[in-house]
Amino acid sequence: MQSFLLWRIFSLVPILFGTSVVVFLLVRLIPGDPATALLGMEATPEAIAALRERLALDEPIVVQYLTWIGNIFTGDFGRSIQGGRDVLPLLLGALGPTALLSVAALVVSLAIAIPAGVIAATRRDTAADYSVSFLALCGLSMPSFWLGVLLILTFSIYIPVLPASGYVSPLQDPMAFLTHLVLPAITLGTALAAAVMRMTRSTMLEVLRADFIRTARSKGLSARTVVWRHAFRNAQIPIVTLLGIQFGQLLGGVVITETVFSWPGIGKITVDAIFARDYPVVQGAVLITATLFVLINLMTDIIYTLIDPRLSVA
């Protein structure tokens, strides 16, 4: 077990290294130049040249890469080309809103999905099952930016009860934070809910078929106990794995939702940085996101084995 763990952690290094190289090259391949992006239409060729020199953009690419990755190891993620901010605090600052949104979306999705999945499994092949399953499929099939726009239309225009976009820090005004959180969380949570619900249902079905359930039932335990205490507990494992994978989906879906709702999270900051050719920000953001992704995957695997030590994760 220990050696496996070490091996997994060790293999993170080439993955992250590979990711850093890929993002470094990829973002430089996009046509367009950060200096022109910053200086805009009015810039003179001299001004652009001066800025490029200041940003060291004309050095050989290997040198630029080594400088950047070397600095990363000392905790220096460089400075944003747009506005000169320190990249690391900038990105960490953006992680806050993304994390809050993700957690809210996960809560929304679990709140919908778990009961729905359990109901569908226990009332299998009835109208309830079919309608719930169908609704889940609908949620999965809806493009999130469409759903987001429709929600804005309904709850900010037609029935103006919620703000259409923006973010307020929970530390400043909890109430406003919550009202701003509702629509984006529902948008993001819906797609997740669908997948989790389906997984819950199918694992519950499998578990409900198992022998130990028959035993519990034959012991005369109430249905509720059987379902929740015994069946559901065991169904958690694949759900946990799914949540780990969902985190990956989350990082993708969060980009779209943040753009639609002007939520200042890491997704939006990365998209904006790509368009502005703000290399240090894009590189830093992708590196951080990828690191989080693989770390959380790793932790999911570890927790997986903790929950059920019978399983080996070779």
Binding site: P31, G32, D33, T36, L38, L39, G40, M41, E42, A43, T44, E46, A47, A50, R54, S80, Q82, G83, G84, P89, G93, L95, G96, L100, V103, L106, L110, I114, I152, S156, I157, P160, P163, A164, S165, G166, Y167, S169, P170, L171, Q172, A176, Q236, V240, L243, V260, S262, P264, K268, I269, D272, F275, A276, R277, L292, L295, I296, T300, I303, I307
Partner: protein, 503 residues
């Protein structure tokens, strides 16, 4: 069980993130605060480095130029009064007792330091181009600065009412270094409290402002790039003022009792540049044929919903004295265009690629031109790129017909010199005409307004005839507010909120 797992999941993530939750956000719904939704986040708050229209909405609130320009485009004293003992000398006398936001004295030495910085090649400032005609800047008195020009430059004061005249604190520049871009210390009506990228720019009133402390104590700028969402925020009252109102929403805003629409004739133009350095548009007849096929009235209706006027040259009606209302050119004539093409020796369909950014309004315009040009014998394809690539494409001239809109300046020189002089930085079309070059240089050196107007009229006539650029529309400046705020609109679309108040 599940709770524990979710908890572990969250703990893992939050260990990295909790520190970031404490951001200096100011929630701006209390009385005395105005929240404004703008089109995009500024790239920088340093006026020496500003180079796009992203900053226009906020710049005049943080920074103050040496002289001020009214909505009628008349120059008035600002931080200083200006006198011109001779056409090549300007003497600026600063008001007494002024300081920057950080308390540094706003004196002649500080002003000189600003000009030195902007004109220094090492700074790489776009202002160096604006201040090209400046020969020397001298401190002649603790509160007086004398600027000598290399040659007569009629628009000089107009230029100084814009970014090139904005004074920032030299102490802060030295102290903050790279960080100056995000914390700019100027002498305008508001000082920067905090700037969280893509979220909020928070300003608070500066008591030492030369007009006195502004009525509104706190302003929050929120960048919302989607025009519909901006408007929704206005309607729901989350913001009280918005920039960049989508033209198709005019009827709703006018019909809404809680909202006020502010509409002004703008300073900018919407135009496309032909690449005159290579076929097919190296032939003026082909350019004219294409221009002939396009109908700007359709574009005005379909893309701008009537909010603007058709354009045939770079000088808009808002520039009263220099505007030539008689200027026109043949448009909307597919048959005539076809004939002209035949004359130019083009018998088969001429392939043309129109390059635009992915902004919906420009895509729409490109599609309209595509349909109209098709009737004249052009086979048009549309090439959509992102805004950053646009500048590269324009400079490298890797296009056939490309959008090149201009936000506009308060003097006709600002709308023409860089575009139509030989080697001008905005001469994306690559067109070189010695006659027009000469006319523009004369116009800039001519102090008599009537004579200047005549020179510009001549230049515009040649430009219209040779058609290196296809002018389409002068868009109206559209902004809107709730009834909670009264404010003053300017034709350049910039927000000067020292003149606003909450009601």
């Amino acid at each position: 069980m599940l709770k524990r797992r979710t908890f572990l999941h969250t703990v893992a993530a939050s260990a990295l993130i909790l520190p970031s939750m404490n951001m200096g956000f100011a929630f701006a719904q209390d009385a005395g605060t105005l929240t404004v939704a703008v089109v995009s986040d500024p790239a920088t708050l340093d006026p020496a480095m500003m180079a796009s229209f992203f900053e226009i909405a906020v710049q005049y609130n943080i920074h103050e130029p040496l002289v001020h320009v009214t909505p009628e485009l008349v120059v008035e004293p600002g931080l200083a009064t200006a006198q011109s003992p001779d056409p090549q000398t300007y003497v600026f006398t600063l008001r007494e007792g002024l300081t920057f936001h950080d308390g540094t004295a706003l004196d002649a030495a500080a002003v000189k330091a600003n000009f030195d910085r902007m004109m220094d090649k090492a700074t790489g400032s776009p202002r160096a181009n604006d201040l090209g005609p400046v020969e020397s800047v001298e401190v002649t008195d603790p509160l007086t600065v004398t600027i000598k020009l290399k040659s007569v430059f009629a628009p000089f004061l107009q230029v100084l009412s814009n970014r090139a005249g904005m004074m920032v604190s030299p102490t802060a520049v030295a102290a903050l270094g790279e960080n100056f871009a995000t914390q700019a210390v100027g002498c305008g009506p508001y000082k920067v409290v905090s700037w969280t990228k893509n979220a909020e720019l928070v300003l608070e009133a500066f008591p030492g402002y030369w007009r006195g402390e502004p009525a509104i104590k706190k302003i929050v700028f929120r960048p919302i790039s989607d025009e519909t969402v901006r408007l929704t925020n206005l309607r729901s009252g989350t913001v009280q003022l918005i920039d960049g109102v989508p033209p198709q929403s005019l009827p709703q805003i006018e019909g809404d009792a809680n909202l006020t629409l502010a509409r002004a004739s703008g300073l900018g133009f919407n135009a496309f540049s032909f690449n005159t350095t290579k076929p097919p548009f190296n032939d003026a007849r082909v350019r004219k044929a294409f221009s002939m096929a396009v109908d700007p009235d359709v574009i005005l209706q379909a893309a701008y919903f009537g909010a603007g006027t058709p354009a045939f040259g770079p000088i808009p009606p808002s520039m009263g004295w220099a505007f030539d209302s008689t200027l026109t050119a043949p448009r909307g004539d597919a048959a005539g265009a076809k004939a002209l093409l035949a004359e130019a020796g083009q018998t088969a369909d001429v392939p043309v690629a129109i390059t635009v950014t992915n902004s919906p309004i420009f895509v729409r315009i490109a599609e309209i031109m595509q349909a109209q040009a098709a009737e004249a014998g052009f086979a048009v394809t549309i090439n959509q790129i992102d805004a950053t690539s646009l500048i590269t494409v324009l400079r490298e001239k890797s296009f056939e017909l490309c959008m090149s809109p201009w936000s506009g300046r308060s003097d006709p020189d600002g709308n023409m010199f860089n575009y139509f002089t030989i080697g001008g930085p905005n001469s994306f079309s690559g067109w070189e005409n010695a006659g027009v070059d000469d006319l523009l240089r004369q116009a800039r050196a001519e102090t008599d307004q009537a004579k200047r107007a005549a020179l510009y009229a001549q230049a515009q006539a040649v430009i219209s005839e040779e058609a290196p650029m296809l002018f389409l529309v002068f868009p109206a400046v559209l902004q809107a507010s709730t009834k909670a705020v009264e404010w003053l609109q300017y034709p350049d679309g910039a927000l000067r909120l020292q003149f606003a108040k909450l009601v």
